[in-house]
């Protein structure tokens, strides 16, 4: 048996878009096979087909040489295929055991018999070094632990082929190293792994072969050991890529944003941000690096006024804004590109023009005596769209919902920068975007800095932070671990700090 998984000429069309256009993927037994492609290239779709969540429009799938029809996840399970999804599929108020056995519950007299199951889970956990407590509730355990629960779910189902969809996006560099070790353990036990990731370094580190797809089309499969990162990136994007953005000289000016001893509570009313201090100067980009869920959201929400500051102060351009409303802060010169563009950034059911004036509809000339002035709104929206290259089907009256992700994000960035803010806070500004859009948005952020304004960049992508920032503040468990100059640090150092190790090397 040469291949354990063979997907031949898989095609999958959604309304208006071909997500997979005759893609072929072959996985050998005992290998780690990487799947590489831009956002939206069709990786998740392909894996969902392999896992039985979608049915291909055409194409064939062979598992261990047998042609199969994977009509639903149960069939996939029976074939020994398991998947860790990009977004974990765990029920928050169930225990680890309950989550793992969901769908094939051991029964005794009609009741769920968890005892035997949790014993088995404990064994599996020990065998693969996963260190999972079967009786813990999901909502009480860390993200890394949740991922290991997902892995256990597959192992519990005796999966032979394990699919990981962007498993590292939510992990610290240390947790990533840990995960890679686990993966190696797994292939050593004879399992096969399909790994989706955007990070070429990770592919280099663990994968044996790599299949590259672009815009739904198969580009090729390469032997990882003999292919350079640059080469893989070019295959993925289809042209030369520059990993760096040209920046002007670093000439920091006065302090425009100052955060002092800020303490903020999260939903559970625990301190998610503890006595955090930071300042951002005119003409600089300060990056906030940290693992997801370490207080970044609370920091940004406190600065923008979406969340109450429990203690501490915030100044904007010399004016204390700690207790101002969101709107007052916007009027004082604060702009915010939110983390979740569909949840926070846009009213999807509003037209593009209404979204573009979402914060300033009350200002002249857009409103006079509380009546909206449509012509003025439309004209302004057209300008913003032209400036920021926002493309839509019906101009300014297009519903925001029908825009592509990149255009949605460009509209938001355009809206925010058009506010002429003194301070721009950008959170994950390029998440889910293709390389072209990323380049464009990075250029815009740098332009904002070069024009002498302050930019606070919060991102989970270390590369992005390292590329754009002048200084980097590292946050862990709601505390500032340290601030370093971007020029004088590297990924490893930052990664250590993200794990909570101070820049001087001691535990913080």
């Amino acid at each position: 048996m040469e291949y354990v998984v063979e997907m031949r000429d898989i095609r999958k069309e959604f309304v208006g878009i071909v997500a997979n256009d005759n893609i072929t993927l072959t996985v050998r037994p005992g290998e780690i096979h990487a799947l590489l492609g831009e956002n939206g290239a069709g990786k998740s779709t392909l894996m969902s087909i392999l896992f039985g969540l979608y049915q291909p429009d055409s194409g064939k799938i062979f598992i261990r040489g047998q042609e199969v029809k994977i009509t639903n996840p149960n069939v996939a399970n029976e074939l020994g295929i398991g998947m860790v999804h990009q977004h974990f599929k765990l029920v928050h108020n169930f225990t680890v055991t309950e989550n793992i056995i969901l769908g094939l519950e051991p029964q005794r007299f009609g009741t769920v018999h968890t005892k035997a199951a949790s014993a088995r889970i404990r064994d599996l956990s020990r065998h693969y070094g996963l260190n999972v407590d079967p009786d813990a509730k999901i909502e009480d355990v860390s993200v890394g632990m949740q991922q290991r629960v997902e892995i256990l779910k597959m192992l519990y189902r005796n999966a032979e082929v394990l699919i990981f969809d962007e498993p590292t996006a939510v992990l610290t560099p240390q947790e990533i190293t840990e995960l890679m070790k686990i993966m190696k353990n797994l292939v050593a036990e004879g399992k096969s792994i399909i790994l989706i990731t955007h990070k070429l370094k990770e592919i280099k580190a663990v994968a044996d072969r790599c299949t590259v797809i672009r815009r739904g089309k198969y580009v090729g499969v390469v032997d990882v050991a003999t292919t350079s990162e640059q080469k893989m990136a070019e295959m993925m994007v289809g042209r030369q890529v520059s990993f760096t953005v040209p920046k002007g000289e670093y000439r920091p000016g006065e302090v425009l944003l100052k955060v002092e001893d800020l303490t903020v509570l999260n939903h559970a009313r625990l301190a998610a941000l503890k006595e955090f201090s930071l300042s951002v100067h005119a003409g600089e980009i300060v990056g906030v690096a940290g693992v997801d869920g370490n207080g970044q959201t609370e920091l940004v929400e406190a600065i923008t006024g979406l969340r109450k500051a429990e203690a501490g102060h915030i100044w904007l351009d010399g004016q204390e804004i700690t207790h101002l409303s969101v709107r007052q802060r916007i009027d004082a010169g604060l702009a915010h590109v939110p983390e979740d563009r569909q949840k926070r950034g846009l009213v999807l059911d509003y037209s593009l023009e209404d979204n573009i004036i979402l914060e300033i509809y009350g200002r002249k000339p857009f409103a006079k005596r509380r009546l909206l002035n449509r012509p003025a709104i439309r004209q302004y929206a057209q300008e913003v769209m032209r400036h920021f290259d926002v493309r839509s089907a019906q101009g300014t009256v297009t519903a925001a919902r029908s825009l592509s992700g990149g255009n949605q994000q460009k509209a938001i960035i355009g809206r925010e920068i058009s506010l002429n803010p003194r301070v721009l806070i950008a959170v994950q500004p390029t998440r889910g975007l293709d390389v072209g859009s990323i380049e464009y948005i990075h250029k815009r952020l740098v332009a904002q800095r070069d024009a002498g304004f302050a930019v606070l960049l919060v991102s989970l992508e270390l590369d992005e932070i390292l590329n754009l920032s002048d200084r980097i503040a590292v946050i862990s468990h709601g505390e500032l671990i340290g601030t370093v100059s971007a020029a004088e640090t590297n990924e490893i150092k930052i990664g250590l700090m993200m794990a909570g190790v101070g820049k001087e090397g001691q535990e913080a």
Binding site: R344, Y350, G362, R370
Partner: protein
């Protein structure tokens, strides 16, 4: 008209048509002739000037409650408490009408203000509970319905007792929305200037939602509370404001019911127009003009069903059944839309070919 607007209107008409067809089937099953039934149903609502006036009068409170529900819906709230708001608003208006010795125009103005305020108060509290404490408005407005019910139940006999324990005194002519000129225009119908208020409310609501910054804010909160908060719109305040406006509309509807359609307020009755308002809003696709059309349609059915019952042996509940079926079809209009989409695509590909 673009395809989407067209689709909306066609869906609405198809929904009504399907409801009427379902009604016809029910009649057939029960052994009646649907054509005769419908003939008398519509004649009952429309065959004379007086009946048209009565239909309009029946529709008047429905326009208000429909607007109330639709308005709240636009801002993401489900106002199931229009009944309580209209009862409380109508009660307070009646109380003023029975108490203050003022000239008709002034008195009516004061009553209308009081009705709106009372209705607004009755909706503001659930709104505040929702905004501040995350209490689901469906439950809280139901509770407020019953509280209004019992307050009116005890206060009417206590302070405004009429000939009997069960109802208030009749309101004086000065406090009535009925006017001789309008009644005469419609041959002695009990149509009243509440209708004019309702029409004004439709226009105002449409204007408010489409043209004003307030409407912009309220709709933004309704569509996406998180984005609205992000943009500096005070979502909690918007929820309260929107509930208050919805309550004010219902309260005014209460005044048109108790001081226009009726002549006094009776205890022990939660006005059915509250729940009917939900149906009106749904059928009217939550747009003010849609609400107007739906309320007039329902008014016709309600006011015509008695005549149908008098002329045939078809039970009048068929009208309610038709309305209910229409609402179900409105809820499942996705099917109709999908069907229209398919038709449209077919046509396009034909044109393309």
């Amino acid at each position: 008209m673009n395809f989407h607007k067209q689709k909306e209107v066609i869906t609405l008409l198809a929904t009504i048509l399907l409801g009427l067809i379902a009604g016809a089937l029910f009649m057939l099953f029960a052994g009646h002739d649907p054509l005769t039934g419908y003939k008398f149903l519509f004649r009952g609502g429309l065959m004379s000037l007086e009946r048209v006036g009565n239909t309009l009068a029946t529709a008047t409170p429905l326009i208000f409650t429909g607007l109330s529900v639709a308005f709240a819906f636009k801002t993401g709230l489900f106002n199931i408490g229009a009944a309580g708001q209209m009862l409380f608003g109508g009660f307070c208006a009646t109380a003023v009408g029975l108490t203050l010795p003022l000239d008709k125009p002034v008195l009516l103005l004061v009553m209308a203000l009081v009705a709106m305020l009372a209705g607004a108060l009755w909706a503001a509290l659930p709104g505040w509970f929702k905004a501040r404490f995350n209490v689901h408005e469906v439950v809280s407005t139901i509770m407020f319905n019953w509280i209004a019910y019992w307050l009116v139940y005890y206060f009417v006999p206590l302070y405004f007792k009429g000939s009997f324990e069960t109802e208030s005194r009749n309101i004086p002519l000065e406090a009535s929305l009925r006017t001789p000129w309008l009644s005469q225009m419609f041959d002695g119908s009990y149509i009243n200037i509440g209708l004019l208020l309702a029409l004004a409310a439709v226009v105002l609501c449409a204007f408010l939602l489409q043209r004003t910054t307030l409407g912009f804010e309220l709709k933004a909160v309704g569509f996406n509370r998180f984005a609205a908060e992000y943009a500096g719109i005070h979502a909690g305040r918007s929820i309260v404001v929107s509930m208050m406006l919805a309550g004010a509309l219902a309260g005014l509807g209460g005044m048109t019911l108790y001081c226009g359609y009726a002549t006094n307020i009776q205890i022990g009755i939660l006005p059915s127009q509250g729940i009917d308002g939900i149906a009106v809003a749904l059928l009217g696709a939550n747009s003010p003009w849609g609400v107007l059309a739906a309320a007039l349609f329902f008014g016709t059915l309600y006011s015509g069903k008695g005549f149908m019952n008098a002329m045939t042996s078809i039970p009048p509940e068929i009208a309610d059944t038709i309305i209910a079926t229409i609402i179900y079809f409105a809820a499942t209009s996705v099917l109709i839309e999908k069907f229209l989409d398919r038709l449209w695509r077919k046509q396009q590909s034909k044109e393309g070919a």
